[in-house]
Symmetry: C2
Subunit: 271 residues, 2 copies
Amino acid sequence: MKGSILITASCFLLMAACKPAKQEDSPAKFFASGKWIDLTYSFSEQTLYWPNNPTGFKLDTQANGITPAGFYYSSNAFSAPEHGGTHLDAPVHFAKAHQTTDQVPLEHLTGGAIVIDVSERALKEADYLISVQDIEAWEKANGKIPDSTIVLFRTGYGKYYPDAKKYFGTDEKGAGAIPHLHFPGIDPAAAEWLVRRQVKAVGLDTPSIDYGQSKDFKTHQVLLAKDIPAFENVANLDQLPVTGAYIVALPMKIRNGSGGPLRIIAWVKND
Amino acid sequence: MKGSILITASCFLLMAACKPAKQEDSPAKFFASGKWIDLTYSFSEQTLYWPNNPTGFKLDTQANGITPAGFYYSSNAFSAPEHGGTHLDAPVHFAKAHQTTDQVPLEHLTGGAIVIDVSERALKEADYLISVQDIEAWEKANGKIPDSTIVLFRTGYGKYYPDAKKYFGTDEKGAGAIPHLHFPGIDPAAAEWLVRRQVKAVGLDTPSIDYGQSKDFKTHQVLLAKDIPAFENVANLDQLPVTGAYIVALPMKIRNGSGGPLRIIAWVKND
């Protein structure tokens, strides 16, 4: 009898602990156990664009002061190329008739992420190509990358942003500067590997998923043709764990856009 | 002895069930039990702006076709006022020296949300002011709104977007059209109530948190002075449950901005 009471009591207690309270089950409660980290650079006159863009980001004041009615009011207009600062490459950027910015599904913009750190080599070698070997070494250390993962590469170049000379390899402007671009990117063979592994999206902390010296932008062609969007100039990748972060990467919803400003954040569990 | 084995066995089984597997604990697994819903209108030439804006959203093609190197490439530039389409009002929009767009903390842009549906009255009365009574009626039916909630109001006006005549009450342009604006908004007394309840942010499916006939934009003044950001022209509010949605509302990160394009999504648990 005593044993039976004991079983009943312990089951009751354990089952009560098992059953999630309605609140515990809610995402608001779930997310309270960690914090969101911003992986986005601000848009300003310092925002970096490909050297052949005639203009960069511009903010024009429409109003800033006390109105005749007596209250304070400020408002601006802005203009920018799609591809600069922290931004999205939509599949149509290099793949004709593929998804435009507004058509990239939220399933490819949200999800679990892994971070592959290649900074040790990339910071020594401006033309570094992230290789299949780099990804396989990551898997050897951390286990197989699951399907439907967002794969982020950390080259360490984030620490140079927005110093064009260090980040791009040149601070010259115009089409003539393009041959002088030197920064790390992803080897097309690694892009093919990522396609086979059916990743959701790819991001990194350089101006482009193809390295600065690329002429054919093959990595763009490979990934975007398979509707795998790219996130470029991603900030603060040093703040993410190797596994376990959850990404929400939301581009400005430009109809018929080939890309655009991206606000990308990561949720990371508290220690 | 048998009883003791039984206790040990049942405890072992129950405790194993209690202990979350590493994967079950991850946000990627958590979010797999529901779906993200997009609450954002696309930016295009149809995007609605306040009638006195001289221009709206503009997309300019920079490239679209086969390059001399033989691959397809498309790229655009764009321009827009900050306040139109689905967008953020940052505190500095009406509160001098308060947070600019890039400074609004992620804590105010992410969180659990409730939806207060006032569409039955608002669709009959273009100058409808969402009242303290509307909020208190919601609480009577659904329980107290917790602190740090994102409060979304559904007026039903979303179904009119982007038909300016129905959505704004006028399709005229220029400053002369402003007195003809008729759409629902939030009564300043309700804004004061929301401040006292320490909500994270406020959103709705009309062009402005102040109703069309407002002259002093008092609701803006009340909320923004307390650093409670506003989400305007929010889409698809009819797709959200009354409670339990989780919002991620990410504005384009405009340094010194008074607002800007907002990509807002909601996570909703599967039925």
